[in-house]
Amino acid sequence: MRIALLTEGARPPAQRAAGWCERLTAGLPEHEFERFLLLPEAEAEAEADAAEPQPGVRTLVLGGPPRGGRGPGAIRRRHYARAYEDLVRALVLPRERAGFAAGLHALAELAQQDGALPAFLASEHAHQVLERVWTAPGADTAAGQPLLRDVLVAGDLLEQCLRPLAADWYGTGPGGLGGADLCHVVGGGPAALPALVAKRLHGVPFVLTEHGLHLREQYLGYRQAPYRWPVRALLLSFFRLLTVETYRQAALLTPGSSYDRDWQLRCGASQERIRVVYRGTAAVDRPAAGAEPTRPTLLWTGRLEPAGDPELMLHAFAQVRAESPQARLLLRGPEGVAGYREHCAELARRLRLGDAAVFQGAAGEAAGDWADGTVAVFSARARRGPGALVSAMLSGRALIATDVGVTREVVGPTGLLVPPGDPAALGVACLALLGDGERRARLGLAGRLRAQERFAVEPVVAAFREIYLELVSRWPAFPAAERRFGALPRPFARPAEFWVAGTAADTMARAH
């Protein structure tokens, strides 16, 4: 089976499936994988430095200025402008949301014919269209009218997002998406655009894997972006509509956790097309951490920032220390917000923790890093990915975590869960585990076994082996052979003999 793996190069770390795709392709040698990578600008330069391109990998740069190219002629420009206007209307006019897919595919079709889409989107004509629609009555500009600079910035950002539409990936030959049996999108967002177009053009089904939802990352990431409200609203509206359309068109969604599945359901995915596949990690084989330290130690890891809530940990530890004076707290991790480490140290002084609370540098991933602690504690207010929890569970240490995000399903019954923002509950849980060695050992072992079972690579590979076969079995064998534009091919539309016999002309030729 030929499978096209579509990924985006570098997003925030939660989004980045580092090595995940490689493990999948290594686990399924019976299939032929082709990688299609969308790269941000910085990585593209690194790629260019790395000399010869890898075989079987096709890349497209998503950031930076558009790479030259001629704009469309006067007549084609009018077609482009009409399609772009449909798309923008869907983005800014709440009544016309339904036109998003039509506008997107119209643009894709035009871009397939002459590849002038990036040049058009960077041109003044596109900016005029954007401005006209954006300032039209009925546009959603509740918290601020767009200014000229907003039009320019939003136009550029849209151009970058829509660049995959003009990629030369949609041929039916080898190395083209039309020739693939299946697309596998890892990450969502713009990476799903080629899959949407390939499904529309060639009827190639696609499966979408998301580790950390793209849309949610955008909502959180754009809050720090230095754009004015109208730009944020337009771009987030684009990502939202794209996500909804992707979820609607995907043959199957495989979120990395049930927590993400709830979001996907909310975004319009249907229950029966979602299958949770936990993200496998190669670390399951590493040995457990050795003997516990002699002095009872609570080990807190994570970035020192308000979202990680080390303050909650310090307050809880003050309570622990009142009961058990020889206990120690290790706070390990880099500083996420400048000056926050000093703030936490000040809090520790105020709580009279003395030298029992120790701040250390960056956290590692190896099992030895957990050996310093008797109990691993996570006090974060939010947890979108399972990474740190799984690492702690694999070390075989008992675990206490706040009940947020994915924690409940990852830890399950193998650790203690406390409500977020409740130092008393956390303190009681810490005391309970520090005082009971037998329970610690039992929970630690159970956690290690649970993590090894759920987060190994083999279940992922097995799940996708089945998913690929299942999807392809529901799709016709040669979708490209009898495709009509816009209509999805149906399986078993022809009996097997039809394909064995070949086309009518071949049969006639052979008969003579």
Partner: protein
Amino acid sequence: MGGGGADPVRELLAEHRELCERATHPWEIAAVLEEAGLGSAAARRYRHADVFSLAEELYARVPRKPADDEPPPGTPTVAGPLAPQRASGWRHRCWARGALLGALLLPLVTVLGAAAGRPGPAAGSAGSSGPSQVGTAAALVLAAWAACGAADRAARWVRHAGQVQLRTVGTLAQFRARMRPVLPVALGLHLAVLALTSFTALAVLTAIAPRPGPAAGGLLQAVIHRAGPTQWVAQASLGLLIAVAAALRRCGRQSVALAGLLTADGLGAGLSAVRSCGLLPAGWAAAPGALTTLATGTAAVVLLPYAWVALGRPQAHR
């Protein structure tokens, strides 16, 4: 249960008011609430099934407010993804310097060419002596060179005006309307400075080497008559060309500016070569400044409309 009173959401609303005012969609509020540790379990305290419906209530109850969320100046709005590359290579800079120098020397070259090519008749028809013409041309070259700084100042002012308009203006049409007088004003300023430097240079020249014969009128008249009308026109067109090229260079059209200057250089050199072969009519071509006017004027006539259109576009000022 938490919240207390008839409206448990009110406290939450007060706590997250800024978020709700700036949100673009209920899902954004949901994402941030979850990030703040408010999961579905906590949403039940507010009588909602999950955090999404809680976010929807918050989104519906707080009106969007036009926030003064001005981004820090100069960050992504001005230096957008399409910002032209400002740092050009040294090779490009050398070319630009050379082309500018060539354009500046045009008056001198054409006069020298005339003096060398056909000394007798040319000088006679122009009605003035060779060395005096060369001196005048040299003074004009010096004046144009001194005014180059003003051209760059004017160009920088054009760019600055464009960026200020870009930050504040509402629509494309408004931007164009406001940018319309900017280029003419900049060119006018440069021409004024050029007139001043030319006048000064010629005055100095007149003081050092006064023209032989009776001095008619005062110093003012003597200085103005020192250069013929064609030479003044040539100086003006050279000034226009240099100012337009500077403005284009400052606004990211370096290659067009360079091409304009090189065109003027090439035309000037070519015309004076043609003249020295005797292919041009003796009357007007031998007049000092005529060939310079022709060369720089042609380049300026081509560049001016282009610059007018290009600098009226917002892309040029990012």
